[in-house]
């Protein structure tokens, strides 16, 4: 009895939620003044002939970047004295040599040897003390309250929103990735002599999320496309004649406009899911969840240099971690860009667990072992996944076309709370890719002193680089023209460096 029924293993609601919103060209009814502004200004953008992708890696919970990159040399004693049980042992950290020395020596967390390699290869750069700002602010202004601060500092959800919208002093409506997508999506088409797109060439949305709904990719005109680490969500168990029957039913015209619209969304969702899964099929490797031994035509290997991931002795593969699986799917989507006719793509990956108030370092029998604990595990996951992704881009010969960058709720307090660290403000971030001016550090490293010039009061760094400057530098590389920058980042002119210089022209 059951066998005679089609098996909808994916709940219809989930399927529509995750896939239907990918509909390219499905302009929402909530057109606003900003829409009009972006559409008008978009005419000033050139049609893209090359390919570029931005990958946002969001470290949810607030990364303790004070232990991602640490000062060694004369600054280490100060670092160790204040961080106490959180302080990394000097003999365990991984020194790096910057091409633009700022008078300090730095080292990375001992669980990040892959990041050390990428830094040495000049494919990774660090940006110091970055965070949401309404306008530049110093310690004196912070304490007097004489300069506006982002609302609800130190609160998770608010700071995530500020990071992802880059407009902390306005009600959150769109993310900066979504606004860039609104502006640039039409630039993937060929324009006619009047500057109007002649065809809707790209087959999926410019913004793709591997981590569900996010603010970063919310635009006014184009919805973000959600995919899982296995690919697009499709109607499970419905194939062949059954699938054709579903499509035929969806093609029936009705006098009921709502029914027609529903059928249209469903049909489009099926089509987009199929198109995308077809596009990524060639890069199915033997570690994918959908790989079966019967599927012996899957001969793709990710040449990442890791050992022990492929079970047949082949070298390479992505680490089987949350971030590893997400970045692997992003690599597959990038590899499948041509069938999808994509010229620009923005991806969002997220990994949680960074809210390390407790158990940040080793506990129990090894309370001072900073190579243990939740933060060490998280940084190791980050290091391996980012490295694998960068190697995958090199394999696809797209290293200089794809830039990954980190973002996080906030940095964390510099002094220990005894078991971990608490919510801070500014933090250090990294940018990875062949187009990055790697092997360098950007921004100013904070003075590591409680109640020092960079501290609010308890070891929370006041950012000296704004999210606006960080994001604008990435957006400029991605193809947003100078004239359109203020449409995407309305507060950018309040800050000194609209281009921080960490991207090659």
């Amino acid at each position: 009895m059951n066998d005679s029924f089609p098996h909808f293993t994916t709940r219809r609601r989930d399927f529509l939620r995750q896939a239907a919103c990918a509909a390219v060209g499905a302009l929402s009814a909530r057109a606003t003044i900003r829409d009009l502004s972006l559409i008008n200004t978009g005419a000033g953008q050139e049609t893209f002939t090359d390919y570029k992708a931005l990958v946002c890696i969001f470290l949810a919970g607030g990364n303790d970047s004070n232990n991602l990159i640490i000062p060694i040399g004369s600054d280490y004693a100060n670092y160790a004295a204040i961080r106490q049980n959180l302080a990394l042992q000097l003999n365990s950290v991984l020194p790096i040599t910057s091409l633009n020395p700022d008078g300090r020596q730095y080292a990375l967390h001992p669980t990040c040897p892959e990041l050390t390699t990428l830094f040495a290869e000049q494919k990774l750069a660090f940006l110091f003390n970055t965070g949401p700002l309404v306008q530049p602010i110093n310690r004196s202004q912070y304490q007097k309250g004489s300069v506006a601060k982002p609302p609800q500092l130190f609160s998770h959800s608010d700071q995530v929103t500020h990071w992802q919208t880059a407009i902390p002093d306005q009600a959150p409506l769109t993310g900066w990735g979504g606004r860039v997508a609104d502006l640039l999506h039409p630039c993937q088409y060929t324009l006619n002599q009047d500057g109007v797109p002649t065809a809707n060439a790209s087959k999926v949305a410019l913004c793709t999320s591997l981590a569900g709904a996010n603010t970063f990719e919310v635009g006014n005109s184009f919805a973000q496309f959600h995919v899982s680490t296995s690919g697009a969500v499709t109607l499970g168990g419905v194939t062949g004649n059954r699938l054709q029957a579903v499509k035929d039913i969806l093609s029936l015209q009705s006098t009921n406009l709502q029914r027609n619209a529903y059928a249209d969304v469903t049909r489009r969702a099926i089509d987009i899911g199929d198109t995308l899964n077809l596009a990524i099929a060639p890069t199915l490797d033997r570690t994918d969840s959908s790989y079966t031994t019967q599927n012996n035509n899957a001969t793709w290997y990710w040449r990442t240099g890791f050992t022990g991931i492929y079970n047949n002795g082949e070298l390479g593969g992505f680490p089987n971690t949350s971030l590893g699986r997400q970045l692997k799917m992003i690599a597959r989507l990038i590899a499948g860009r041509s069938p999808l006719s994509m010229k620009r793509q923005i991806f969002y990956a997220q990994v949680g667990g960074y809210d390390t108030h407790t158990a940040q370092v080793g506990t129990g029998a090894a309370p001072t072992d900073t190579s243990l604990g939740s933060h060490a595990n998280l940084l190791n996951e980050l290091s391996e996944a980012v490295y694998a992704f960068q190697r995958a881009m090199e394999q696809l010969q797209l290293s200089d076309k794809v830039t990954s960058f980190t973002a996080s709720d906030f940095g964390r307090t510099f002094p220990t709370n005894g078991q971990g660290s608490d919510h801070g403000w500014g933090g250090h971030h990294m940018i990875v890719g062949g187009a990055v001016r790697g092997g360098r550090t950007f921004g100013t490293f904070p003075t590591l002193a409680v109640n020092g010039p960079d501290d609010t009061s308890t070891g929370r760094w006041i950012p000296t680089v704004s999210v606006d400057e960080y994001s604008a530098t990435l957006a400029r590389w991605f193809g947003v023209s100078q004239s359109n920058m203020s449409s995407i980042f309305p507060n950018l002119n309040r800050f000194a460096n609209p281009d921080l210089g960490f991207m090659m022209p």
């Binding site: 609302p151 609800q152 500092l153 130190f154 609160s155 998770h156 959800s157 608010d158 108030h357 407790t358 158990a359 709370n417 005894g418 078991q419 608490d422 919510h423 609010t456 009061s457 308890t458």
Partner: protein
Amino acid sequence: MNKKIALSLTALLLLAIYYFATSKKPSTVIAGTSVQPSKSTPSAASARPQKIFPSDSNTALPSEETRSAFLETTQRPATLEARNQVEQVALLIRDFRNALHQNPIGDNQEITASLLGKNQKQISFVIPVGSIVNEKKELCDNWGAPYFFHQLSASVMEIRSAGEDKTLWTADDIVER
């Protein structure tokens, strides 16, 4: 005519389904005691999450020792008092939010200062009786340990008392939102 009969039958069928669905409400089992959910408007106290042991219909009840230990810990006068104080602090934060349309921000010291008047409207809120402000101007629980304020969003603040062991993030912490 047939249409009317069909409609009547459908209505009867729906009534029957409703009757059977509502006549046997599942009961909530708390510490092995069957309790029918109250039909009265839940008070703030009854709306709070409670520690619930699983029903004995599916899983074995915890041992008598476990239940005793649980009750002994949670019913200890000092713990009950601390729980009451954490609830009062949560209400205080709620009052702050209602008055200023946002939560106080920062560490304990900054939040305590905000509660005591260092806020946009210079409103001084009354610290709950029994709560202590220590020499560092931090709001403390009745064991003298500073509360930990975990800022989740503009409208949600988690307040954590370290409990009797005065160590945060251990099993005896008392947490309220």
